[in-house]
Amino acid sequence: MTTPWQIESIPDSDLLYMRIHKTFVIDGELQPGVFRDHDGAMSVHWQKYCPSPSLARARARHPEDNGIISLVAGRVRKVPLGVDHDPDATLGDRSHTNVRGEKTAEARVRLLGIFEWCLRIGQREIDMG
């Protein structure tokens, strides 16, 4: 399906949201198994077109089973992994972005060192202070 949206360049400073299924959280700690490819890449949502963690979670099949983390695009590129905007017209998801590159043990440990929780599993909304 042809996308009606242009592929854009994602600035290094922009945030990417990623859904975290509850199976990947043990005693409150995120496990590295979450950082794996599905169909050749790891899917995340670009904040420009998915402006809140709640919206990212709402895209899950079972939102109540998922939390949301954020990653800064530039820090992902330094892992090093590619960050490529990939709008998905089929799913109506202009924010869809692929994190490309081999998810070696080294890359996954580095990703564990740069993520931040936005919404924990079961957390209704984030306290913005």
Partner: protein
């Protein structure tokens, strides 16, 4: 013999990974392995994003490897060798992950006959170890020992 790259920190060069053997185990390794049997209950699409189930053969491969590695590490470093988290990956592989104040070590065990299993370890002072290996013929007690003393 698996080869290990040491890109920075002390002790650079190529280290050997010794063949598997078995002996005494740390106190709570058995419970960790027993708990990890729950991975076998994960059906297709267990993460709602297309994850593959964990095969019993992969679980046996991972836990057998872990037992050999821990037995040898305990024999050389004593009973205080920590036990890792045993957790699933969406590609059907299993992670063994040590996250301690003094080091992190991630060992990924792939199903037999697929892509290579790999590992990465680091300490806060910049010591790193990484490489690929065959879990059926090697353990990584040397790697674990290096991270425990650095």
């Amino acid at each position: 013999m698996a080869k290990v790259h040491v890109p920075r920190g002390n002790g650079g060069g190529i280290a050997s990974v010794s063949p598997a053997a078995s002996s005494a185990e740390p106190h709570d390794l058995d419970s960790a392995i027993e708990m990890s049997k729950s991975l076998l209950d994960l059906g297709p699409d267990w993460d709602d994003a297309g994850a593959k189930p964990i095969d019993a053969s992969t679980w046996k491969r991972a836990t057998g490897f872990l037992r050999r590695t821990m037995a040898k590490a305990t024999r050389s470093a004593g009973p205080s060798v920590p036990v890792p988290r045993i957790s699933p990956c969406s590609d059907g592989s299993i992670d063994l992950f040590w996250k301690r104040p003094g080091f992190q070590l991630l060992i990924n065990i792939q199903p037999s006959g697929t892509v290579a299993s790999d590992f990465y370890g680091e300490t806060p002072n910049g010591f790193e170890l990484k490489g690929t290996f065959d879990p059926d013929t090697h353990d990584l007690n040397v790697i674990l020992g290096q991270l425990l003393v650095n």
